[in-house]
């Protein structure tokens, strides 16, 4: 395989980049289970920091999971019919709408959060409720859901399939339920996993919208990085990795699967 100097150089760059990305992850995992990181791993391995994290931050972990689930439900309710509508009604208006709802991908989360705070920050009941953070998460994840489903729907001859169902007597709603949704499943699955993964990891919007009583996992992470000892911060990061890495892998698997269908 290593026939030429060029290949060796390429391999070197690849491995260096891998090390740059991977070594800090390992450091963080190690630090999370080391008794005293300053003294090194020789001080012994322990799970006490992980338990400590559970004690301190279990709320934030549950809040994040609950938010991700709520976010999934809302993006499904809004995104699934919307993707169908965009697929059945292509044209400049649909493209404009798709472009518009994708703005939160392009504009920094900070700006989105500021905009929400400017308009709704004075509605006290809403401002301090968890639904305020949910709105931010939905804004950020909705385009992924819509695009993921839209890609699958656009790849099949949806119009003719629906005409087939209509000729058999199916109403608009029956066609949506029996034909559109089952055939969009790969896109829905990929979209759902993306939404959950991104919602659990979302920080930029959430940091601006959160209240002292509503801390999500990443907000808790930032909090622990600033105020806790390194071992606890690391153990918390370890918990986050355990949650996010399987989700990310499932998401990549589902997206690749949905993409194969769209080709």
């Amino acid at each position: 395989m290593l026939k030429s100097k060029t290949k060796i150089l390429q391999l070197f760059v690849t491995l260096t980049a891998c090390a740059f990305l991977f070594v800090p992850m390992i450091l963080s995992l190690l630090a999370g289970v080391t008794s005293n990181y300053f003294k090194g791993v020789s001080s012994g391995l322990t799970l006490k920091w992980v338990f400590k994290v559970w004690e301190l931050y279990a709320d934030s972990i549950f809040l994040s999971m609950g938010l991700a689930f709520a976010c999934l439900i809302v993006t499904l309710i809004i995104g699934l019919p919307a993707a169908y509508g965009l697929a059945r009604h292509p044209g400049w208006l649909s493209r404009l709408l798709e472009e518009f709802i994708s703005l939160p991908l392009a504009i920094p989360g900070l700006a989105i959060a500021l905009a929400l705070l400017q308009l709704y920050g004075s509605l006290k009941g809403f401002r301090i409720s968890w639904t305020f953070i949910l709105v931010g998460h939905v804004l950020y994840t909705l385009p992924f859901m819509v695009r993921s489903i839209l890609a699958v729907l656009a790849s099949m001859d949806l119009k003719t399939l629906e005409e087939g169902a209509a000729s058999l007597g199916a109403s608009s709603w029956q066609r949506f339920r029996d034909i559109v949704v089952p055939n969009a499943m790969p896109g829905i699955l990929a979209g759902a996993l993306t939404v959950v993964t991104l919602s659990i990891g979302e920080f930029n919007i959430t940091w601006m919208l959160h209240t002292p009583y509503l801390k999500t996992l990443p907000v808790g992470l930032a909090d622990s990085y600033a105020s806790m000892r390194l071992e606890i911060a690391s153990a918390y990061t370890l918990v986050f990795f355990i949650l996010i890495v399987p989700l990310l892998m499932a998401m990549q698997w589902a997206s690749a699967r949905a993409q194969r269908i769209t080709l």
């Binding site: 990305l21 309710i77 509508g85 009604h89 939160p104 920094p108 990891g201 979302e202």
Partner: protein
């Protein structure tokens, strides 16, 4: 109900949500930027006051450095991974795409573990090397989340490259180096520009990473944050947000028109 009205009904929830929670807030943000005593000239103020101008210049410079470094590393690694089949390739690929879902704060923390006071580099080197909280640390943090994004774009483009073009060049006697310069790079160019635009835009707007690392460095997202929370200078925070938003949005629009896709997962 006709099919047309059913389709329109399907779009209604999206329309309502995006008007109420996106269009109106953004409009409010824009109006808020003109509500200070200097009015709309606040946008000129950004260019006039050294504090904002220096911030702007520094942010652009760090982002540019990140973009070119990520392009160089990811293009080499991407071409290598897509053109060679070997044991462990899948693992390397997984490692290099894992950071896609990491929030910026976590990436900042990982850089601290690398270059902070208790960091790896500080422990294994004799001289006390702490770079996590400097511009270098920020650059490495941005590089950390840029590499996976650029890598995925490059690999997607490399798979679409027509290998018969390379073979044709070889039959005409081109050296491997000439093939890269004359065939592969021109073929990848639209995707490289797109990936570069994505990396640049994400770095410009990265808040989480800056939040953990840039306690003493003024980059735009940090200045927006401090103007809003500490100085309560809401108009300036809004104006900077608008400028930053327009710049990143325009860049991603260019990226999309060039490559057709944007791998913009995670916020940096």
């Amino acid at each position: 109900m006709t099919n047309r009205s059913f389709v329109l009904l399907c779009l209604t929830p999206l329309l309502i949500f995006s008007i109420v929670f996106l269009a109106l807030p953004l409009m409010r943000l824009f109006l808020a930027s003109g509500e200070s005593e200097i009015g709309w000239s606040i946008y000129l103020e950004i260019l006039r006051k050294p504090r904002y101008l220096n911030t702007l210049v520094l942010t652009v410079l760090v982002s540019l450095a990140t973009t070119f470094a990520a392009l160089a590393v990811s293009t080499i690694a991407g071409m290598f991974l897509s053109r060679n089949q070997f044991k462990g390739r899948g693992i390397l690929l997984s490692i290099m795409t894992l950071p896609l879902a990491f929030p910026g704060v976590v990436i900042g923390f990982l850089i601290i573990l690398l270059g902070g006071r208790q960091g790896l580099i500080n422990q294994i080197t004799p001289g006390h090397v702490v770079f996590a909280y400097s511009v270098i640390g920020l650059f490495l943090g941005y590089l950390y989340f840029s590499i996976p994004r650029v890598l995925l774009t490059v690999m997607a483009a490399a798979e679409k490259l027509d290998t018969s073009l390379e073979e044709a060049a070889r039959t005409m006697g081109a050296s491997p180096f000439r093939v890269v310069v004359d065939v592969i790079l021109p073929g990848l160019m639209p995707s490289l520009i797109a990936a570069g635009a994505i990396a640049f835009a994400t770095a410009m707007g990265a808040f989480g990473t800056a939040f953990t690392l840039a306690t003493n460095i003024d980059v735009i997202p940090m200045v927006i944050y401090t103007e809003f929370t500490l100085s309560a200078n809401i108009a300036m925070a809004a104006a900077l947000s608008i400028v930053l938003g327009i710049v990143t949005w325009a860049l991603l629009l260019i990226a999309r028109s060039l490559s057709g896709t944007t791998v913009a997962v995670g916020g940096g």
